[in-house]
Symmetry: C2
Subunit: 281 residues, 2 copies
Amino acid sequence: MASSRSRLFFLSSIISSLYLYMFVAGDSDSANTLSLDAIRDSLIRQEDTIVFCLIERAKFPINSVIYDQQSSSVGVPGFDGSLLHYIVKESEILNAKVGRYASPEENPFFPDGLPPQLFPPHNYPSVLHPAGASININKDIWDFYTKQLLPLFTTAGDDGNYANTAQCDLQCLQALSRRIHYGKFVAEVKFRDSPEEYSSAIHAQDGDTLMKLLTFKNVEEMVKRRVEKKAMVFGQEVTLNNVGDSGKYKIDPSVVSRLYDEWVMPLTKLVQVEYLLRRLD
Amino acid sequence: MASSRSRLFFLSSIISSLYLYMFVAGDSDSANTLSLDAIRDSLIRQEDTIVFCLIERAKFPINSVIYDQQSSSVGVPGFDGSLLHYIVKESEILNAKVGRYASPEENPFFPDGLPPQLFPPHNYPSVLHPAGASININKDIWDFYTKQLLPLFTTAGDDGNYANTAQCDLQCLQALSRRIHYGKFVAEVKFRDSPEEYSSAIHAQDGDTLMKLLTFKNVEEMVKRRVEKKAMVFGQEVTLNNVGDSGKYKIDPSVVSRLYDEWVMPLTKLVQVEYLLRRLD
């Protein structure tokens, strides 16, 4: 067990800190080849996207009326929900028509009743177990984003820029959803590397043991420090005269660290556990 | 004339390099108060947004089929245009419904036949001359972006991620459009500061003279260097170990400088000239 844990830790270190390049192939089918360096690049790159999105959202005050399900000032006739709900739902209808959700990396927030794609879908390589498609925790992401995260990095107030604000929210929600559901790919590559490690817990449907197997505190601390540093670098005011860090940032870097600590990493592990529990179906 | 040019240069320096805070009020109506520091902050802040958008678009290869008006693989039944055209047009229909174009800072790419807003519009302060609303050079922006700029900062290839790619294009187009049409506000504040400077050229409908009055080469050089630096800072790969500039960037910083030199600044001045020509209507 100790050596298996060491191997697991080693694998997680690769995925998260990642100085190594390698390929993991589950079988001889090239469409099933899962590239660990692609996962590595994507996870790290998605951190940048999330920080950019938060910085852009922070241009606007909280504009709370967007999230109010009973608002009289921005109510959409015939629609029962908040303005953000309306905008995300309508955007997802357009996105479904043009093939966004054909990608296994994308999960809609309001999947019910989405229209079919208007042209033949792209042939994405099928690397995930088919049961993975049913995992969608966007409701949790919506809730923590709108109720807990937003007040941490936006100012109080209302500037009337609701359409632009909601578009920034949509970008943030999509970026967070993509990052968190990327846990499906992380879990798949971990399972392929050492199926024996997970199989007994999967057969026993023991989510707690799987969660322990997937938790590496020192790796998580490193990720938190890295995203905080990214918030400092990308959120600084760049002038021709300044050299380096002025200590003034467009969003509080500690909020990004907290975002990863309290929501992104725990929910990614939740996705991983959910995925592994169905991996042998 | 020389002292007027000096004053103009001084004003432009404030607007572009901008170390001074002040307010310019055209009249006693507070709704007509045009804040120069708001313009200053917005122009500089919009540089960050544009750089973020380009970095995000560069995640995907060029995916040329999106821009092909005759594509058979991603054609939308019943729609005569490229996939990007379809996505931008449909997004603008949704945006019109939720009030984006009630803002004087926003201009749609396909304004014909947009639906009315679904709830009462926000009461934006009316700072621009009414004739400014009719100035829309998005066709020029669309053309340089899709035909000239994209090949400069994206890699060759096709990864099938058309919906995500087009969403990034939409973000870039909107950010560039907002920045370039911000010339209306720049022109208004310049006119209010010294109406006598511009009036004779306006009465003579002499666009060439207005363009000369609005051109300050050394200010433009400074803006080009600043946006290039922003591309370096925001486009670097941030790790826990690196200290500063590795020389590797997600987009070529010189492309951002060129974007401002060849398109953003000339087209902003074109908007300013168009605005001033109608300022005394």
